[in-house]
């Protein structure tokens, strides 16, 4: 099994979710993160002082999938999250040693 971790622009989440729903039924876990990269931040003003804020709000999606599905999931995320502008984000893939579904105790692909 593999973990696919995508850092995307927050407003793309809904689209990615729907895209994935079309190619199958996947569970996923989502969190809010702040990203730093080539996309430049913005200036904030407080009582006349200027602050450069480098961190940009991003959304992290984590999906554990079977090896077979990995490629199509990655492709779907790539398509749906893309705007073509800087800061679209990354997809990171990791190997997963084991998966357990807490409710049933099932393990491996069955637990997904």
């Amino acid at each position: 099994m593999q973990k696919i971790e995508a850092i995307i622009k927050p407003f793309k989440l809904e689209e990615v979710k729907q895209g994935l729903a079309e190619i199958g039924s996947f569970g996923m876990t989502v969190s809010e993160v702040k990203g730093f990269g080539q996309q430049k931040g913005h200036t904030e003003l407080y009582r006349g002082a200027e602050y450069e804020v480098d961190f940009i709000p991003k959304t992290k999606i984590e999906i554990i999938v079977s090896e077979e599905m990995a490629a199509s999931v990655i492709e779907t995320i790539e398509q749906k999250a893309k705007t073509g502008k800087i800061g679209d984000g990354k997809i990171f893939v990791y190997d997963v040693a084991q998966v357990v579904r807490i409710r049933t105790g099932q393990t491996g692909n069955e637990a997904l």
Binding site: F11, E14, T43, E44, V53
Partner: protein, 450 residues
Amino acid sequence: MVFSTKMKYVLSSIAQRIRRCFVFTGLLLGPLSVFAQETGESIKTAAVETVNSGDTAWMLTSSALVMMMTLPGLALFYGGLVRSKNVLSVLMQCLISAGLIGVLWVIVGYSLAFGGEGKFFGNFQYFLLEGINPDSVSGSIPTYVFVMFQGMFAIITPALMLGAFAERMRFGPYMVFIGVWLLVVYCPLAHMVWGGGMISQWGAIDFAGGLVVHMSSGFSALAAAYFLGKRKGFGHEHIMPHNLPLTIIGAALLWVGWFGFNAGSELAADGTAGLAFLTTQTATATAVLTWVIIEWLHRRKPTVLGAATAAVAGLVAITPACASVGPGGSILVGAGAGILCYLAVTLLKPAIGYDDSLDVFGVHGVGGAWGALASGLFIADFAATDAGWGGQVWIQFQSIIFTAVFAIVLTLIILVVLRLLFGDLRVDEEGESTGLDLTEHSETAYSQEA
């Protein structure tokens, strides 16, 4: 020579020029009215009037209460309903209404609304409150207090509209819009209804501003929502209130402040003020109860946003009617407001498909019109008018139609002109998705520390 005398000289020569310039505008607007040009005549209030300290105490308090309705009341009510990336922009739009209109009002607004005898609008005799001093009296209160009480109405009314185009309008054009709208829509209406103009001559009942405040802003808001177009994502994305407790604080402060708005409109602390206070409370309570029950039946769950919206709807509806209906009548006004505004917000809006983001039309437009009608419909014996029941209802109906058309047409004209001047009145797509707080004000509402 005392400094202020010199300054007064400078300011009044400026005043002269501005007057000329307005007279010119008046000529352009000629078809609408014979522009009242007499200036400098002495103030209307007769010398024999004396100040009653009790009435004055209540009107000072009422003025403060109405100010509280805009800031923080309305600011929070609207601020909580937008997404967190736009909350500051809403607060700023309320703040600048106080800033800009606060100044405009003492310069020309008051005079345009309450100066002279024009049919459609006032004149410039009170430019910069010329001729008024601490000893001037209006009725039983100092004229300065009357000016301020009315000034607070002038501040909140334009701000009410911002809910219609929240989360997308640029700040600069917004400022110009409300300034112009005040002079072109609000002041004339205030004059027509309260300043001795046309609608007051018809004999319309509008005790605290169903026509002048709520219908004017509500129908203008509808026009503006159409003109500016929908928010990006409206209809398919989940656009949800970011902080409902803020909204509830806002609604609550609106409720409290509204006692100044309605009972203050008596301009005295007497039995009629007591009546207005009571009907305000009863109508609002009834509207809340009605909405909660309807929503429970219709959606299986009563919501707190629904209850808060109902409170505002009840307050809006009783505004024109608060001194002409009795306790029983106020219950009917409130129930009607609950039902009609619920329908407007829940069924009418999706049916027609405009994006009046925070339901200004559904609440203030519909509620205001209903209240204006109800002022006649449920008129109490003690408030009976010469026109008779049917006659009064007919007068109310006419005034409603006139106000609706007046507000929509003039607002659209203003917006067309502004678009010619400023280009797009909306922020660009990028800015809209980043949020107006950063785009327009370089600020973030909430931040987490390291």
